[in-house]
């Protein structure tokens, strides 16, 4: 596993965390579940890697802690995280970078041209 630096390109884990927060504010365990579900179990975050990333994301201001709780009946001790505009921008930049990379690979016929990435299911 490569050491991830604070500047782009983003590590897979950080990118996945940001992706999870695009639609909804989530708490830590929900992020892990969401990532695991989306990647069909390929990326499994551990509590340690998750909070290592969360701390840095909080420091860079890409995510912030929600002041309002999304669900009233949930465990009061949980903290929810919200993707800031800055974070959304960073995630989008990373996605575009990945898309450009994929396009280049396609031009070189490394991957079949016909195969278009599935539209993101809502």
């Amino acid at each position: 596993m490569a050491d991830d630096r604070a500047n782009a390109p983003l590590s897979t884990q950080v990118f996945h965390i940001l992706l999870s927060l695009v639609d909804d504010d989530l708490h830590g365990y929900a992020i892990i579940q969401d990532v695991a579900e989306r990647t069909e179990g390929e990326v499994r975050l551990t509590a340690s890697t998750l909070y290592a990333a969360i701390k840095r994301l909080l420091e860079t201001g890409w995510i912030e802690e929600c002041r309002e709780r999304p669900r009233v009946d949930d465990d009061a001790r949980r903290r929810y995280y919200h993707l800031t505009a800055l974070g959304r921008h960073a995630a989008r930049a990373e996605a575009l970078r990945l898309e450009r990379l994929a396009a280049m690979a396609r031009d070189k016929r490394l991957i079949p041209a016909a195969r278009v990435a599935k539209p993101a299911s809502s």
Partner: protein, 892 residues
């Protein structure tokens, strides 16, 4: 309350994770995130456990660790940079940082060598696991004190006739008990006896087993009630109201924790008894099933009875007296009693032994042998771990040299290596705890048949945990220190030189370790081999009955003289029943009740105490039903009348009382002169012995009394030989008993096969355990041989290449490697043989039919070890022949 519950629910993995968080991460980070991280981990842990089991949860914890270390290092580094601005450096902080670094590095390097890590952890887990399980057993049975008030004061007393072993503790009679009680000045003495009772009025009638107190035994024991009171001497007065004390479990089961039961009545054997107290949960004395306590209610005549021996006796030493004083005093009392009641007490000693000793004494040898065996397994494991670490160290010589060349101090390198082995030992130790837990569970599942005293008190406790951790950390430190010392002491320039592969120096260390592994395995295998031989012989002992297709059950009825004969007839009429009989006690399952056996043709002189023999009350078909053979005379017959009774004896009894003559036609009576079980009985037959004392012991001299002479006997085993399915016969028989009296429970349903197999259960148990340990030892030792030879082959690749290039045949190369393996085995074998000769004699009491130095076993075990070593040498040898000389020499 809720917080307490939440704490209980935390699993071990969560607790470890929490400890790591607190330990590794700086306070600032913890304040902000630790709670959240823990919460997330708790949910991950719960999910993993429920979907993929406990092992997956441990793996999940392991996968957290590298991330945690990275996080810890980064956070601490950041904090140090900040602190550098404030120009303060804490030495402590630095040390801690380097420890975290060492740990993180150790984790990374173990991850890079998964084969090594897994082998090491697995062998360690097996060794530590077996130790944890057996230590828990030893702890629960032998080490922990009895759960009584000041248990060290508690003594067991008993009488022992002439010619018995020093620690014989026979039960005594009411008369003797009350005499001891009133005469002793060093102890408070009281007795108890087992009683049964049918509980009615709470659902189906139910047979309960309990204890009767004689002379206020509960006060002597110092039992604490959960609520209510205990039984006192006053309760034992036949004139006082009938009382009962329930065990916690009975109260919980029958009354559902209702505390208002005090003062209510309960119907036992048709007698209403007032519930006066309930005992605490976990109270176990006197062991086994004990569902209630009732006071004995002897009238004056029975209090003076001296020929009914059924009372077990305990005494509590007064604070001012010692065991020696108590023994001396009881010696004096025994002397007085043999003068006062020569008929009953002539030549009888009174034995005083610490109570715990009498409960666990018999299991001690068995447990110590097992403890020794697992200690050997652990030693082998540790030797193997050392071997693995050495092998790994020689592979890392270059890496270490580079680190030293770059300025790492010798102590820093040594510490790094030590950290690695301690980490390995800790992971192995934790996995071992898990293995131990499941192992203990397996062993206790077999407990129903194993007769281990205090089995209900065995559990994995904190002392065991501490023991395991200590063992694995010490093992890690010790075996880690060998390569650490070797490597850190090496001259780095040598190792850096091109083409040097490992050191020849640890060659010897590794061979020595393998030899010790083999020697230890040899000792263990010998122990297991002896037990297996002995068990095989035990199994081949003819039990004296033919247990095939026999089902038995037990029924106790009071005051219904026709119950047994009428139900017997109806069961006989069932389709599929070949024959059916009643017996007051089952064969193979122990001694059963006994009485004095008196020859009427040769009365004993005045003042000589007769000797006793067990007897069984049986119906005439009994012998044919269980398959007990006739030796001379005839079996009992239904024509035998109560007024002119016939009895049958076994060969052991014939040999003891009629050594030089035929017992047939002789008249005898059983019991005391004034209290005869059967009188003027004529011996009509001699039957073959059955192994009632267990297959390895001499049969008891036993008499068989016809049911016709004892029609009011209160309880019987039904013994049914069937040609049909035993289950359907049982169902039909239950129906017959229910039809005769719906209040009477059917108990102890078992086949005679089960009874016979239960008789060898303890032997089977220790044999299986030792066998498992020996197999583990053999596998680990084999791995050791394999490892060392592979290592040698790798190290000598160039030499082998040259040999092959110069025309050495593959056989000669193979012989070179296998020969090396055989050399190791031979040395190990010789050392092991000496060890086995020295140690197996401690097992002699566990053996039957084989001597501790049985040559056949020794030879067989040696053969097994040689074969295992040959297999272990074969693979490296084959690899040696495939060395390609060109590749091997290319480096030159």
């Amino acid at each position: 309350m809720r917080a307490q519950r939440a704490e209980d629910l935390l699993s071990a993995t969560v607790r470890i994770y929490r400890a790591l968080l607190i330990l590794l991460l700086p306070t600032g980070f913890n304040d902000a995130f630790a709670d959240d991280m823990l919460a997330v981990f708790v949910e991950l842990d719960r999910e993993t456990r429920s979907t993929r089991g406990n092992l997956a949860a441990i793996l999940a914890l392991c996968s957290e660790i590298p991330g945690l270390f990275r996080l810890a290092i980064r956070e601490r580094r950041t904090r140090r940079t900040i602190r550098a601005h404030q120009a303060t450096t804490h030495l402590e902080e630095n040390m801690f940082d380097s420890l975290v670094q060492d740990l993180a590095f150790a984790f990374r390097s173990l991850r890079r060598a998964p084969g090594f890590a897994i082998t090491a952890v697995l062998t360690l887990a097996l060794g530590v696991g077996a130790n944890t399980a057996i230590f828990s057993l030893v702890n629960g049975v032998l080490l922990s004190p009895l759960r009584l008030r000041q248990p060290e004061q508690m003594m067991a007393l008993g009488e022992a006739p002439k010619g018995t072993k020093p620690n014989t503790l026979n039960t005594t009679s009411p008369g003797s008990l009350f005499d001891w009680q009133s005469r002793s000045k060093t102890m408070r003495i009281a007795g108890y006896s087992g009683v049964g009772g049918v509980l009615t009025g709470h659902g189906d009638p139910e047979q309960l087993l309990g204890t009767a107190s004689v002379g206020g035994v509960m006060e002597v024991l110092g039992v604490q009630p959960l609520f209510g009171r205990l039984l006192t001497v006053a309760d034992e007065d036949p004139a006082s109201p009938r009382t009962i004390v329930l065990s916690f479990e009975t109260w919980h089961r029958v009354f559902g924790d209702d505390r208002s039961v005090l003062g209510k009545t309960l119907n036992l054997n048709g007698t209403a008894r007032t519930i006066v107290g309930v005992l605490q949960a976990g109270y176990t004395f006197p062991g086994g099933i004990n569902e209630f306590w009732t006071p004995s209610a002897y009238d004056a005549a029975f209090r003076a009875n001296r020929d009914q021996y059924f009372i077990s006796v305990v005494g509590r030493l007064l604070p001012s007296s010692t065991l020696e004083q108590a023994r001396a005093e009881m010696g004096t009392i025994a002397g007085q009693m043999s003068r006062e009641f020569p008929l009953f007490n002539a030549g009888t000693r009174i034995v005083v032994e610490p109570l715990k000793e009498t409960i666990v004494g018999g299991a001690r040898r068995q447990l110590f042998v097992l403890m020794g065996a697992v200690a050997f397994v652990l030693l082998i494991t540790c030797a193997n771990l050392g071997n693995l670490l050495l092998a790994r160290a020689s592979g890392r010589r270059r890496e270490i040299a580079v680190r030293q060349a770059l300025g790492a101090s010798r102590s820093r390198v040594a510490r790094q290596l030590l950290t690695e082995s301690v980490l390995l030992a800790l992971i192995g130790g934790s996995a071992g705890l898990l293995v131990g837990k499941s192992f203990l569970k397996l062993m206790l599942a077999a407990q129903g048949t194993l007769n281990l005293p205090r089995a209900e008190e065995i559990s994995l406790d904190s002392r065991v945990l501490a023991f395991t951790l200590l063992v694995s950390v010490v093992a890690g430190l010790f075996f880690g220190s060998i390569p650490a010392w070797q490597l850190a002491g090496g001259r780095s320039a040598d190792a850096l030189r091109e083409g040097t592969r490992g050191s020849g120096g640890n060659h010897f260390a590794r061979s020595a370790l393998v030899v010790s592994e083999l020697a230890l395995a040899m000792v263990l295998l010998t122990g297991a081999g002896l037990l297996m031989r002995s068990f095989g012989l035990l199994r081949r002992v003819d039990p004296g009955v033919n247990p095939d297709h026999i089902v038995t059950f037990y029924v106790s009825v009071a005051g219904n003289p026709t119950f047994f004969s009428s139900t017997l007839e109806r069961i006989r009429g069932l389709p599929g029943v070949q024959s059916v009989a009643l017996a007051s006690y089952l064969p193979i399952s122990g001694r059963g009740g006994g009485a004095w056996f008196n020859r009427m043709d040769r009365p004993l002189p005045e003042g000589v105490r007769p000797t006793g023999a067990p007897y069984r009350v049986v119906t005439p078909e009994y012998f044919n039903t269980v398959g007990q053979r006739l030796k001379s005379g005839r079996f009992l017959q239904s024509s035998d009348r109560a007024d002119a009774p016939a009895i049958v004896i076994n060969e052991a009894l014939a040999k003891r009382y009629y050594p030089d003559e035929s017992p047939l036609g002789k008249q005898v009576y059983l019991g005391a002169p004034d209290n005869r079980v059967i009188d003027h009985a004529t011996i009509v037959g001699v039957v073959a012995d059955t192994r009632d004392a267990g297959p390895g012991s001499d049969p008891f001299p036993t008499a068989f009394i016809p049911f016709a002479a004892k029609p009011s006997w209160p309880s019987f085993y039904y013994v049914i030989r069937t040609t049909a399915d035993p289950a359907s016969i049982m169902a039909a028989s239950r129906e017959i008993i229910r039809a005769a009296d719906p209040k009477i429970p059917v108990r102890r349903v078992q086949t005679l096969e089960e009874v016979v197999s239960a008789a060898v259960a303890p032997a089977r148990w220790s044999t299986t355990l030792l066998g498992v340990f020996a197999c583990v030892a053999l596998v680990i030792a084999g791995l050791g041989v394999f490892g060392v030879l592979s290592f040698i082959v790798t190290q000598r690749t160039r030499e082998l290449g040259i040999r092959i290039a110069l025309g050495a045949s593959s056989t000669s190369v193979q012989r070179l490697v296998v020969g090396r393996g055989m050399l190791l085995v031979s040395v190990g074998l010789v050392v092991g043989l000496i060890g086995a000769f020295a140690l197996t004699r401690f097992m002699s009491t566990l053996l039957y039919g084989v001597t501790p130095t049985d040559p056949l076993t020794f030879a067989g075990v040696g053969g097994v070890l040689l074969a295992a070593a040959a297999v272990a040498s074969y693979l490296p040898a084959r690899r040696a022949t495939r060395v390609d000389p060109i590749i091997a020499l290319r480096a030159e």
